[in-house]
């Protein structure tokens, strides 16, 4: 449960100008945009990645942390490379 999807803040709207009366942001999710409430992440800014659940940003994605742990995972993968066969296919995404 708790479907929360990562997206990038591409515009900020203060509470005066937003329709909801709350601090909002336009968040881009891989080409789809939605207005998201930013009240719970007052320090979030342009270009930040946030996790959005039911129209609210509930946390920032800690990009350094993500990079660090992903490096560790990649190392695991490189050990496994010794046994690896064919490269798996990339998902067939059409822009």
């Amino acid at each position: 449960m708790c479907l929360a999807i990562p997206g990038k803040i591409v515009a900020l709207l203060d509470s005066q100008s937003s329709r909801t009366g709350l601090k909002m942001a336009t968040v881009d999710f891989g080409g789809v945009r939605r207005e998201v409430c930013l009240e719970y992440l007052p320090e979030a800014g342009m270009g930040d990645y946030v996790l959005v659940h039911v129209g609210f940003a509930i946390t920032r994605v800690d990009e350094e942390e993500a990079a660090r742990t992903y490096r560790t995972l990649r190392e695991l993968d490189q050990l496994a490379e010794l046994e690896a066969g064919a490269l798996p296919e990339e998902p067939h995404e059409v822009p």
């Binding site: 708790c2 909801t20 709350l22 719970y40 990645y49 609210f56 993500a66 995972l73 496994a80």
Partner: protein, 367 residues
């Protein structure tokens, strides 16, 4: 999509599976708490890829599954009232009450609307000041900040026609209840990643310590789940029992302080009945007395609506991890997504529906 695709990488997943295989020396039973995690496991066929020693049982992390029949009936009673605009997340539309579901009520003339966010309900309330707008506020702690903000804004904007039907549930008391059960087999938990993004993980430390059970706060993508399983397996093999955070890119120990503040301003902890489990003390949220004017149960006077839960399906046992969906004799025969017997079949991510929709009823258990 950034921060999603990388965690669906096949090579990293395979490497993690190999490492899990190298780590486990004997059978272990793990529970993933969140229905979204169950959904992901079944969607990617993850549990079939795990070594036989690792058994995943599915927890009660599906608010659709654990919302008691009585609360569903109260929701339906309100939705049937003339003039009411009844708003709900899509998940709740098909949950059957004692008489039909919200879809049926819609067919009979009820104004039932699917919303993506509770803020959409405020918009509706402003657009239709003469009609009551009611939002079915189910969910775990993850959804509470959004629901709290909706109430807070309703007050700030002086909206007189907006109310919430609250059925929030909390994870840590449910975990404690599972661990207290004499027939509990769960040895480690994959903790709810997005609940903890909001609440932090400090509430899980006393649980890990008291019951000597590893708790790994885990995300939702295949790489997250596999890494979480690996971390839990290592703890089990090493005889450790602490809280660890696999989902570090989203979760910190304190969680989202602003969100928790607003939750505390609007909601207070209360006892809650869980479908298939019963009343767990201090396991839910209700509106604080100062927000009583937004309490739909009070406004529509539905507290007298009671419903007894009949006994056929094993939803309760599935929800607590005692049984798997295919252990149930009704699974796939009497009990299907079309004719659900239990809430676990109705919810898109209840364990049974996840299993059914991914065809488990046709394939014999592979392990």
């Amino acid at each position: 999509m950034k921060y999603l695709d990388e965690y669906r990488d096949e090579r990293v997943s395979t490497a993690l599976l190999d490492e899990i295989r190298r780590t486990v020396t004997r059978p272990w039973t793990l529970m993933e708490v969140c229905g979204g995690q169950t959904h992901s496991i079944v969607r990617y066929g993850l549990d079939q890829l795990l070594p036989a020693e690792v058994e995943l049982v599915h927890g009660p992390g599906c608010p659709v599954c654990v919302t008691p029949l009585e609360m569903i009936d109260r929701a339906h009673a309100i939705a049937r009232r003339a003039g009411v605009i009844f708003c709900s997340f899509g998940d709740m539309l098909r949950v059957p009450g004692s008489q039909g579901d919200l879809f049926q009520i819609k067919a009979e003339g009820g104004d039932v609307r699917i919303v993506y966010s509770p803020l959409d309900c405020l918009k509706l309330a402003r657009a239709h000041p003469e009609r009551p707008v009611v939002f079915f506020a189910v969910g775990f702690e993850t959804t509470a900040p959004a629901n709290a903000m909706a109430v807070w804004q309703a007050r700030a904007q002086g909206l007189a026609n907006f109310s919430l039907l609250v059925s929030h549930v909390l994870v840590p008391p449910a975990i404690a209840a599972i661990l207290e059960s004499p027939s509990n087999r769960v040895q480690a938990f994959l903790g709810p990643g997005h609940v903890c993004a909001v609440m932090g993980w400090s509430e899980y430390e006393p649980l890990a310590e008291r019951y000597r059970v590893p708790m790994v706060i885990t995300g939702f993508e295949p790489v997250d789940l596999l890494e979480g399983i690996l971390m839990a397996a290592r703890q089990l093999e090493q005889g450790r029992a602490t809280v660890e955070n696999q989902y570090a890119r989203a979760v910190t120990r304190e969680g989202n302080v602003e969100a928790r503040k607003t939750i505390g301003r609007v909601f207070e902890v209360c006892d809650r009945a869980w479908r298939g489990i019963g009343v767990i003390p201090r396991s839910g949220y209700r509106l604080r007395p100062e927000f009583a004017e937004y309490d739909a149960e009070r406004i529509f006077d539905v507290r007298s609506v009671h419903a007894a839960e009949p006994a056929v399906c094993i939803s309760g046992q599935v929800l607590q991890g005692h049984k798997k969906p295919h252990d149930c004799p009704a699974f796939g025969t009497q009990c299907t997504p079309q004719t659900p017997l239990g809430a676990t079949m109705v919810s898109a991510e209840g364990a049974c529906a996840a299993y059914y929709n991914c065809g488990r009823h046709m394939a014999p258990a592979s392990r």
